[in-house]
């Protein structure tokens, strides 16, 4: 079975996409997060709306913050969300 990548979304990213998580075939270790977002945005209006303004997106690979130009490597979970607003 091909490796999978779990995608998880929070706040308005989740609202625009319409789901909090989904699983896709792993795009490969060399694929960057930004490249994957381009591919997902091309496939659905919700993803396109969520990923429209990259400056407002943050990411985590396997629960560690990373820049959007990071390669996905062998990570199993990619989270996409707006800048955090806790505290």
């Amino acid at each position: 079975m091909a490796a999978q990548l779990a995608l998880v979304y929070f706040a308005w990213v989740r609202d625009r996409i319409g789901v909090g998580d989904e699983r896709i075939d792993h795009p490969g270790a060399d694929c960057t997060i930004a490249q994957l977002l381009d591919r997902l945005a091309a496939g659905s209006a919700g993803h396109a709306a969520a990923f429209e303004d990259r400056a407002r997106l943050r990411a985590a690979l396997d629960q560690e913050y990373v820049p959007l130009d990071s390669v996905i490597g062998d990570a199993r979970e990619l989270a996409i969300f707006p800048p955090v607003t806790g505290g």
Binding site: F10, V84, G86, G87
Partner: protein
């Protein structure tokens, strides 16, 4: 003593402060964050990333413990729907004297704001409400510690 908690239920700052006072230091500092009634909102809803939140908070706590001579620190952050006036977050520090306690307390809340994966949504009386936008000033507050 390092106590870090992510929870839906409330907390009692008096209980948390008493536990820090019992450590025998000469200085205790604390910060409590409360839901404000900004722009007619009735509550805040706090979303978070369960698999990541506690680990990020523990990382910030460990940084504070490594940087200041603390006898103890407590960090509690709530999630879920919190009405105006409810407590959201608590940071408490205990040290031999005031300066490490005060500085570590400010460091902890400044870093929690930019490192802990929480997102606030305003809840108005009719149920509508927008996600709160992050503020550049918060990044600046955290960065001044590095």
């Amino acid at each position: 003593m390092i106590r870090v908690a992510v929870q839906a239920e409330g907390f009692d700052p008096a209980v948390e402060l008493a536990a820090l006072e019992a450590l025998g230091g000469g200085g205790i500092a604390s910060f409590t964050g409360i839901v404000r009634a900004d722009g007619g909102l009735s509550a805040l809803h706090l979303d978070h990333y369960p698999a990541m939140t506690l680990a990020q908070m523990e990382k910030v706590a460990a940084q504070a413990a490594a940087r200041w001579p603390l006898l103890g620190l407590t960090v509690i952050h709530r999630f879920g729907t919190l009405a105006v006036g409810e407590r959201i977050v608590f940071v408490g520090t205990a040290s031999e004297s005031r300066i490490p306690a005060l500085e570590a307390c400010a460091f902890l809340i400044d870093w929690l704001k930019v490192a802990a994966p929480f997102w606030k949504r305003e809840v108005r009386p009719d149920g509508s409400g927008d996600w709160v936008e992050a503020k550049a000033v918060d990044d600046g507050r955290a960065a001044r510690w590095s």
